[in-house]
Symmetry: C2
Subunit: 407 residues, 2 copies
């Protein structure tokens, strides 16, 4: 009997059972919190679009969000970067207050018209709920690392409806250039369960259609490589601009709650000057349009400006949905210059700019498969890898480490 | 101007151009050699099935293949393991003779009725052609590593028609537990071009249909995890048995060419006793049947025996198509015990046993997406990861390194 117990696969059984239980718990937590986030954002977006006067309150929203974080949330202000630091170097439990604060901050930002995303919120809610709830089991450092990674996976998978991308994102985002398998099973379970739980709460995800994916030709390959390179440069511009605006606000305005107040004033004025709400919030209608009509070629640049200013001045939310917007509209604008269909280029941009900004080419390729189907896979892979190679070594996550130089 | 040249993305341009050229060349070489291999195997399989008397010559085929390798191919006898060693520790160019010898040895094995695969052949042809042809550029160690990896990617992608799986396989197979991105772009280009080139030569791949993929339920998840565990144990049994038979033949028969001669005698007798050619060769018709009819539950065990004896006694060819057979028939046999459709379980087994034996869970998941479509992805991911975790630390590739313990 002892001989059997020493067999390697027998040792795998307790590992599988333990992480199945933990992964399912994290999946339920992240799926539920993502469902709540999606419901809050749907409500906030609809209310804003039917009460446009609220846009004038954006500076006050920024101020209130800034005050809340300054007096209640300074320990969780670093957001995604705090999670990455904690995974690299586990020290203390991520404060549970991260979850309600980021949900509140993100909802304020969307209700009043900042240009921010939602994956940062989902990830921060997921990881902090996972970390706190697992405290009862008194798990040690290595296990806490994996729990945080699974929280990230569950958050991304459930908020976007992309289980395969979520699974890999939690492993891939930590460092670029390499990737370890120690959290593979827990991240997979958390991602897959998280996605199912959000759907079970009745939330539905936007469907993006790429009706016609041609066979890859040599010209198609060259177009894809050039487009991927442009997506990577765009990702670098976005990340650099956001970091520079943030540094500028920090240098010029010493009292943190005033930063999103000033940022809110500038954004509110810009909205009135442009006379459109196209560039604020999640921008889902524009992303959908990028898949089926020709859009103005400056949409992506305007969205970069609004988002870099919103995030750089301190509004709460994620980067990724704006990156989808930037990428899809940029792909749409590039399409006439190539021999590829516009919806395909919009889809490649959708995942490609994200791949370059987050330095996650595999998760982004899987996201294309999750959202658009398997036959987009090879186009997405080339675009995401080229974008990753061309976006430089500074992505949107400051705490991401360099595992291996890109080239 | 100098300032612009120092920008990171500008540095990426020569990298992209260099590896695009090398990746395309490797893709053309691997795609062409895979097309030749597939044509040779089609011919050998058809000839064998219409001239069954040739099965009695299997011992002589083994002897001739053994003699050829003993006197002409001792430097390339180690096959896939030689490639992995060379990638980990680049020393000397892989001899070009590897390509014709492994093509000849594999065709002999299939013509006369051994049970072997084809990916080893495709990979060895691809990598040795890539390595030799790139000698003209006098590339150094790190670049040669990447060229060999791209050769592996191109070989797998083109021989199975699975570009995404091939892309990741060349990176993932080196070591288990982690994965570096240094060859990502060259492997992607070689895999995608290799696949297109094989198709351009007019070769077609078998289509496997999974008509109905249900939404994942909690019972579906549990069934998938248990099935994945069984796939992993099966992979371990296969790898262990093959290694033990090989060790036994080496211990008992000192003159190498006699080993496949004796192995051929045993296999030829077994074929006559069972009165079927179902368990020899690639076994594609049985793999296809596993997706659409109920098969006898012992098929997978018989295929393990025939394949372990063929490879262990020294016949040339790959392991992977027999692993697809073993997995698909095992999945088919497990289906009535679960609440999942039989074609889905056959598909999970197809990639799942491979994932455990080769320690490549991500490439195997992508193979399911390449072959069966995106909606099989989450089932395949769970099955492949569980199989990987339960297959122990000794896979089919002896030269694979342990990057990180599995649990």
């Amino acid at each position: 009997m002892n001989k059997w117990l020493r067999l390697e696969p027998v040792q795998a059984v307790p590992y599988l059972l333990k992480w199945l239980a933990i992964g399912c718990t994290i999946g339920i937590l992240t799926g539920t919190s993502s469902a709540a986030l999606l419901a809050a954002l749907d409500w906030a977006t609809q209310w804003r679009e039917s009460h446009r006067w609220i846009l004038f309150l954006l500076p006050l929203g920024g101020l209130s969000s800034g005050l809340i974080y300054h007096y209640l949330g300074s320990s969780v202000e670093a957001g995604n970067n705090l999670l990455l630091e904690e995974i690299h170097d586990p020290r203390s439990i991520v404060p549970l207050r991260m979850a309600p604060l980021v949900l509140l901050g993100t909802t304020i930002a969307h209700l009043l018209g900042a240009s921010v995303g939602r994956e940062g919120t989902a990830v921060q809610m997921g990881a902090s709920l996972a970390d706190s709830s697992m405290q009862v089991f008194r798990l040690h450092g290595a296990d806490r690392r994996i729990i945080l990674m699974a929280g990230i996976s569950g958050g991304v998978a459930s908020v976007f409806g992309t289980p395969l991308a979520g699974m890999v994102f939690g492993l891939e985002v930590l460092a670029f250039g390499h990737f370890r398998y120690d959290g593979l099973f827990p991240c997979a379970i958390a991602a897959i369960i998280g996605d199912r739980v959000t759907l079970a709460w009745g939330r539905q995800h936007t469907v993006y259609q790429i009706p016609n994916v041609p066979e890859l030709t040599i010209w198609g390959l060259i177009s894809t490589i050039i487009a991927g390179t442009i997506f990577g440069l765009t990702a670098m511009v976005f990340a650099t601009l956001t970091h520079r605006i943030s540094a500028y606000f920090k240098a010029k305005i010493s009292y943190p709650p005033l930063r999103p107040f000033i940022g809110g004033i500038i954004i509110a004025i810009a909205i009135q000057i442009l006379g459109t709400t196209k560039y604020i919030g999640l921008g889902i209608p524009t992303i959908v349009s990028a898949f089926n009509t020709q859009l103005p070629p400056w949409d992506f640049a305007a969205k970069i400006g609004f988002t870099a200013l919103s995030l750089g001045s301190g509004f709460k939310g994620g980067e990724v949905t704006p990156l989808f917007y930037i990428g899809a509209t940029l792909g749409n604008a590039l399409a006439p210059l190539t021999n590829l269909p516009a919806p395909l280029l919009a889809g490649m941009g959708f995942v490609g700019v994200f791949a370059g900004a987050a330095n996650t080419p595999l998760a982004s390729t899987l996201m294309a498969i999750d959202l658009f189907g398997a036959n987009v896979g090879i186009y997405a892979a080339i675009a995401c890898i080229c974008s990753y190679l061309c976006s430089g070594h500074a992505g949107i996550y400051r705490a991401q480490r360099v595992g291996l130089s890109k080239y």
